[in-house]
Each structure stands twice: as structure tokens, then as C-alpha cells.
């Protein structure tokens, strides 16, 4: 089976990870723009990062037969500085035009502050104006429930079709509301702070397998670029048929991402 990992941060991973992912059957990945672990000092720093996402990573992935797409934005962890945000937002449309960029992401909230919300709204305006797909980061841990609700309200205010928005990093207390409001839901397989494979499959069992994708969000933290393959194995151990596993790890993300004409599988 060909896997799609629709949320992974390969700029933080090694080339050996690409090799392991290819051997495990991961053929397509999408990489949202995110936080580097430190705050960048200027829009020029983001320009370099966006170049990396749109030029270097697709070429590095292609050497292993992996298709690499990305998403462009200023991530919510660097959204408190409104002046920097405005400078970065000014260069975002230039990169959204590139052939491997599928939309705006990962935008959202981190600590649920007023400035973060303002920068989220700036991104949503760009997405609405250009009819872009949107990939949303929801906050960590204790901030997730409140942030998820604030984000969904903000998207609604911009009259963006929720079927073109994935609300990622959903967990037991948020996935039901995300799906009920018409959005796609992402489950992230990440040690300690997000879902284990077993819990993610539990969420599928209680919420169904429609409009849901699973991803690793592997990055510079303790994380696992093969997490999607391990979750598929969890489903297999529980007795799921192969067509359901394929739906979750290939067909669902392909259906969402395929709303962009740039996505070729």
C-alpha cells in the first residue's frame, strides 16, 4: 500500500529518514511551514525557509521516489509580533503560486492570544481571497479545546468552506466538534503530547473514518516519521480490512489534498 503522510516536517529530518519512509511505503508527504524551535528575526529568514520548502525538500524527497508538497504561512508560535507577521504575510502569496504548494498552513493558534488570533485572520483573508486549501494547527495540551473552538469560529467568520479546511492535531475531546462543524479532522501520532497509534484508532472507532486523516507531524522533537505505518499496523492487528486501512492512510488524504489542482497523488 502507498501511504500518504500529510503532515511531516522534513526540514528537521535526515536523508536516512527519507530512505526509511520510502522502504516502509510512504510515497507522498506534505510539509506545513512551522516553528524552527527559535524565533526568526526577519521576513528574510522566512523567505529562506520557504525556498527550502519549495526547492530543496522536493528534490531531496524525489531521490527516494517520494512526492513532496508543502504549505506556506507564518506559524502561530511566531505570531505574537504583528509587525513581523505583516512583513512575512507580504511574501506569502509569491510562494503560494509555486507548483508544489497546496495551500495556507499550518496556521492556527498556540497560546490563544489576541495577536495570534489577528494573524490567523490575516491568513484566512489570504486563503479566502485566493480560494486556497487551509491546514490548521491546533494548540497543545491544555490549550487545545479552547483554541480549536476559537479557530473554527474564525474560519466560519470568513465564510470559508469547511470541507476545504483540515483542523489538525485533533484528540478525543475535539474531534467530534470538528467533524460536526463540517471540517476535516487530523489525528497526529506523536509521543506524549498527542495521540498514540492505539488512541488514534480508538478515535476512528468512535468517530468513523470519513473526513479524517492521520499524520506523524515528525519534526525536531522526539517523534517518528514511520508513525503512520505503525498506526496502520495497529488497525491490522485489530482486524480491520485492508480497504479501510487504505482509506485512512491513502484515499482520505488524497481526497482532501486533491481539492488542489496541484496535487497529483
Amino acid at each position: 500500500m502507498n501511504f500518504i503522510d500529510p503532515h511531516i516536517h522534513m526540514v528537521s529530518r535526515t536523508t536516512a529518514d527519507y530512505e526509511a519512509m520510502a522502504l516502509a511505503g510512504i510515497r507522498t508527504i506534505t510539509e506545513p511551514a512551522f516553528w524552527a524551535g527559535y524565533d526568526r528575526g526577519s521576513a528574510a529568514g522566512f523567505r529562506d525557509y520557504f525556498e527550502h520548502l519549495t526547492v530543496f525538500e522536493p528534490a531531496r524527497a524525489a531521490k527516494f521516489g517520494i512526492r513532496h508538497y508543502c504549505w506556506i504561512c507564518l506559524n502561530p508560535k511566531e505570531a505574537e509580533d504583528l509587525a513581523l507577521a505583516r512583513d512575512v504575510l507580504a511574501i506569502v502569496p509569491e510562494f503560494l503560486d509555486r507548483t508544489t504548494v497546496l495551500g495556507v498552513g499550518e496556521i492556527g493558534l498556540n497560546k490563544n492570544s489576541r495577536n495570534e488570533l489577528a494573524v490567523l485572520e490575516m491568513h484566512l483573508q489570504i486563503a479566502a481571497d485566493r480560494n486556497e486549501l487551509v491546514l490548521v494547527h491546533t494548540p497543545h495540551l491544555e490549550d487545545k479545546l479552547k483554541g480549536t473552538r476559537l479557530i473554527m469560529d474564525a474560519v466560519k467568520n470568513f465564510r470559508i468552506d469547511p470541507s476545504r479546511v483540515i483542523i489538525d492535531h485533533g484528540e478525543e475531546h475535539t474531534v467530534g466538534e470538528i467533524l460536526d462543524r463540517g471540517f476535516w479532522a487530523g489525528l497526529t501520532l506523536y509521543p506524549v503530547s498527542k495521540c498514540s497509534p492505539a488512541r488514534a484508532v480508538d478515535i476512528l472507532e468512535t468517530n468513523g473514518t470519513d473526513r479524517i486523516w492521520l499524520n506523524s507531524a515528525a519534526d525536531w522533537g522526539v517523534s517518528d516519521p514511520l508513525a503512520t505505518v505503525k498506526a496502520a499496523n495497529e488497525m491490522r492487528m485489530r482486524g480491520y480490512p485492508e480497504e479501510t486501512i487504505r482509506k485512512v492512510f491513502h484515499d482520505n488524504p488524497a481526497a482532501f489534498l486533491g481539492q488542489s489542482p496541484k496535487f497529483a497523488g
Binding site: H9, S12, F34, W35, G37, N75, K77, E80, N110, K111, N112, S113, R114, N115, E116, L117, P139, H140, L141, E142, D143, K144, L145, K146, R149, L150, E171, E172, H173, G176, Y190, V192, S193, A198, R199, D202, L204, E205, T206, N207, G208, T209, D210, A217, D219, W220, G221, V222, S223, M237, R238, G239, Y240
Partner: protein, 121 residues
């Protein structure tokens, strides 16, 4: 809510997942013992730390007779306010529990010494 998907019988679920969850319960017990053994400045305040209060609230969910335990345990750790905070300047990570639980806890609650360093991408 869609019809629930069930592929395993209860006995199979217990057979497959019991040992790892037995270990988790003992880890929690050992963690609480570790806090209890700690001495020195702050040892007493630790007992009223907002994270321990949230943890005990979550453990209560495990012991009650209700279902939907994972989602309700998540709520025990969650910020239940609805308005954005004024500023996130200097804040990146999450603690794993909501300091606001102190406003609803009985007795003294300690929230001033938390280092919220979970800040991966």
C-alpha cells in the same frame, strides 16, 4: 455520531492491552510516591500544584462508572475559558494542565512555579 466500529471482543482487548496499562498505573503511583518523598523547599506546595490537582481529577474519571473516559480525562486538563488571552509574549509551550483549575479547587492551589516547556512544532 456514526455507528461505532468494533473489530475485537472485550476479552481480546483486555488480552492485548492489559499489561501495558497495568504498567501505566504503576508509573502514576510511583510518580505520586516520588512527589511525596521529595523534601526541601516547595515540597508542601507541590501537593497543591495545579498539575497534580488536574491529574487527580483525571484519575477520578477513570474510577467513576461513566463512559467516554478519554475525552472526559482530557477535559480535566483543559483550559475551559473562552476568551483569548491578552498576550502570549514570552510564552511558547504548554504545561499539560490549566492553571485556572486553581480557581475551582478547594483549599490552597499552587500555580506560580510551573515551567511549561513542551514546545515542539
Amino acid at each position: 455520531m456514526p455507528a461505532q466500529i468494533i473489530h475485537m471482543q472485550a476479552a481480546e482487548v483486555i488480552e492485548r492491552y492489559f499489561l501495558e496499562n497495568r504498567a501505566r498505573v504503576i508509573e502514576i503511583a510511583a510518580f505520586l510516591d516520588r512527589v511525596g518523598r521529595a523534601s526541601g523547599a516547595g515540597a508542601e506546595a507541590a501537593e497543591s500544584d495545579f498539575r497534580l490537582i488536574s491529574l487527580r481529577n483525571a484519575v477520578g474519571v477513570l474510577l467513576d462508572g461513566g463512559g467516554n473516559k478519554a475525552a472526559r480525562a482530557q477535559l480535566a486538563f483543559s483550559d475551559l475559558s473562552t476568551e483569548p488571552i491578552e498576550s502570549a509574549a514570552g510564552m511558547k509551550g504548554a504545561c499539560g494542565a490549566w492553571k485556572g483549575v486553581c480557581a475551582t479547587a478547594t483549599g490552597v492551589c499552587s500555580a506560580s512555579n510551573a515551567s511549561c516547556d513542551n514546545a515542539e512544532g
